[in-house]
């Protein structure tokens, strides 16, 4: 790779890098055109807003996953973590019992704090335990999931205070200037994430760690701290996603967040982040999350795909979208 890149002139190289970052956006546009051809209702504002709004959880979680994966790690526990945080947050709100903004604030803080704590646990076990992140987070995935099942006694954890529920509900369903809050939330999270990843020394350390751990260590990158921090960022992102998730249905069940980890990882990879680490693309990740949700939406809106084959067509579309991306930047 380096050999072929070296002889290229500077501005040409810059152009090809831009194409790489742009390709998820191109895939997105292709999908939107396909959707519009399949069903004219697809392009209505309400449908598009619905889809982008509900991609918010995965998008926010995937921004965190971009850090972990760019740093050469992996976090499989995010779906279970989201369920656990949602459960604990609702139980906290129920126990406080109030219907005012103060109560809500305590619940929100508890969610973020628990997210950070879960991330810290993952990070410390990975760094100090020197265990593969795949195994560590597979373990915590089971632990978090069981804890929420235990808290719910197998049933549902529901927000009991009706006033509080109505107070909190607009966080998912409300909008400002026609843009729903969850969309604003994930744009802000992505902007902050992009700022940290591209404009701080920590961000450069993450990428350095992901591309070559030994080189990073010899260059003086504080490996354990950077790695642990990526997991904490992931945890905080899951916490933020839960803040937007809970007001939608006001409850957490043992099936909350099931397979979100796979969706988040898929969004990250569609977005152009290398699964082996060393490259991180925050905006690509966000587009990846929207693409995933769009594909599901197009499936329901189409009239010719039998409900038995939805999964197959979805899988094929994702693979084709990746092939289109590849051919786009190979053609340059």
């Amino acid at each position: 790779m380096t050999e072929t890149v070296l002889p290229t002139r500077a501005e040409k190289r810059k152009f090809s890098v831009d194409m790489r970052a742009l390709s998820p956006f191109i895939a997105l546009i292709v999908l939107i055109i396909a959707g519009a051809l399949i069903n004219p209702d697809f392009l209505t504002a309400s449908n598009l807003l619905n889809v982008v709004t509900r991609s918010a959880f995965i998008a926010i979680i995937a921004v965190g996953a971009t850090f972990v994966i760019a740093g050469g790690g992996l976090d499989l526990s995010v779906g279970s973590m989201a369920a656990l945080i949602a459960g604990v947050m609702i139980l906290t709100l129920n126990n406080l019992g109030g219907g005012d903004v103060g109560t809500l604030a305590v619940g929100l803080l508890a969610a973020i704090a628990l997210g950070a704590a879960c991330g810290l646990a993952n990070g410390l076990i990975v760094t100090f335990g020197r265990i593969e992140p795949f195994i560590v987070t597979l373990g915590t995935m089971g632990i978090f999931r069981s804890l929420v099942i235990w808290l719910a006694a197998g049933g549902t954890i529901t927000m009991r205070n009706f006033e509080l529920r109505e107070l909190y509900r607009p966080v998912y369903f409300g909008s400002v200037f026609g843009i729903p809050y969850p969309i604003i939330a994930f744009l802000v999270v992505a902007a902050v994430g992009a700022l940290i990843l591209y404009r701080t020394s920590f961000g450069r350390h993450v990428v350095a760690l992901g591309s070559n751990e030994d080189v990073a260590r010899y260059s003086g990158v504080p490996i354990w701290r950077v790695r642990t921090l990526t997991y904490i960022i992931q945890g905080i992102c899951v916490g933020i996603a839960v803040l937007v998730y809970v007001p939608r249905l006001g409850s957490a069940t043992p099936t909350t967040g099931l397979l979100w980890e796979l969706q988040a990882i898929t969004a990250v990879v569609i977005g152009g982040t290398a699964l082996k680490g060393g490259i991180g693309r925050v905006w690509g990740t966000v587009v990846g999350a929207v693409i995933l949700e769009l594909v599901a939406n197009i499936m329901v809106l189409s009239n010719f795909v039998s409900e038995f084959l939805v999964g197959a067509v979805q899988g094929a579309i994702i693979i084709i979208a990746m092939l289109v991306q590849r051919s786009v930047h190979r053609g340059r």
Binding site: S46, N47, N50, I149, G154, G155, L249, A296, V300, E307
Partner: protein, 316 residues
């Protein structure tokens, strides 16, 4: 129906009291109960009712010991069955994850002389089971379909399917059979995995796609809750009602309170495990014949009978 089930268990308990006082006090029987872990609202209800019934039965029949074991998936259920049989149980009450997988292990257990009761999902070889307590999935679909025919008479209905399984297939195909010849038309069907979030998304998409929907068969109470939230967001007035299923307490409460959007529900009670445990215990402590197949009806729950189906303490 849950109420009748509980009454039955209690009645069995009372019968036992009479029977045991007549015979010797010391008749030691151990019943093992193997059920799925509480990973879904309905299985959560199964666990709750199994534990409650275990307590009631042990009180009612002196000398009876009931061991309840939960397993998170089919493979660990096979292991749990091994563990239970090594504890020398006289009878096993099993709600299998997957009846095909468990048919052979159960055959081995049966050969050792253990009394076998199967709940909800029957084994491939029915000769293995001494007692089979079956939930009635075709009936579940039929009752729901009949409700639409009687109450909607004509109009467009969207359908939510669960997870692709035999249970789901039986429910949906019989639902459609019940609609045949009526003015009620199914305009769309999608899987939403018996999951609230998925049902919310699918309903949002249905609302974008179909300008006029007269009613929704959510086919499950969890999914119905997601559906309701999507309808509320879209502020659509064309949908007259949503029919769920299973008998979750929140939904039964809505039916009881006369919620216009949730006028009814169809029962598929997790307490069928209690029926099975009660009948199994009665087999050992009474002289009444108990072997056979018990098919529970899927009942239509309306405002009139909702009280009988409401269990505020159950997690489901």
């Amino acid at each position: 129906m849950k109420a009748t089930v509980l009454k039955f268990a209690l009645a069995a308990g009372l019968m036992a009291g009479v029977a045991t006082s007549a015979t010797a006090q010391q008749k030691n029987v151990t019943i093992g109960v193997s059920i799925p872990a509480a990973t879904h609202g309905w299985t959560g209800g199964v666990v709750y009712h199994a534990q409650e019934t275990a307590k009631q039965l042990e009180k009612g029949y002196p000398g009876l010991k009931v061991i309840v074991k939960t397993s998170p998936d089919g493979a660990s259920q096979a292991n749990a069955l091994d563990d239970l049989t090594s504890q020398k149980v006289d009878a096993l009450v099993v709600l299998p994850f997957n009846s095909d997988e468990l048919t052979n292990p159960m055959r081995e257990i049966k050969k050792r002389g253990t009394f076998v009761t199967i709940v909800d999902r029957g084994l491939k070889d029915p000769s293995i089971q001494d007692i089979y307590v079956a939930g009635n999935n075709p009936e579940f679909g039929r009752v729901a379909g009949k409700y639409f025919v009687d109450n909607l008479k004509q109009g467009n209905v969207v359908v939510f399917r669960g997870i692709p399984t035999v249970i789901d297939e039986e429910r949906v195909s019989n639902f459609e059979k019940a609609l045949e010849g009526s003015g009620v038309k199914v305009i769309d069907k999608q899987y939403a995995n018996w999951n609230r979030d998925d049902a919310f998304k699918v309903m949002q998409d249905y609302l974008s796609k179909h300008p006029k929907i007269d009613a929704v068969w959510a086919s499950d109470d969890d999914m119905a809750l997601g559906v309701m939230e999507a309808i509320r967001q879209a502020k659509r007035e064309d949908i007259k009602f949503v029919l769920g299923g299973a008998g979750m307490k929140d939904m039964i409460k809505k039916v009881m309170d006369g919620d216009k959007m949730i006028p009814a529900d169809v029962s598929y009670p997790p307490s069928m495990i209690s029926t099975a445990m009660g009948v199994t215990a009665a087999h050992f402590y009474t002289n009444a014949p108990m072997r056979g197949t018990y098919t529970l009806n899927a009942q239509l729950i309306t405002k009139d009978n909702a009280k009988d189906h409401y269990f505020p303490n159950s997690p489901f």
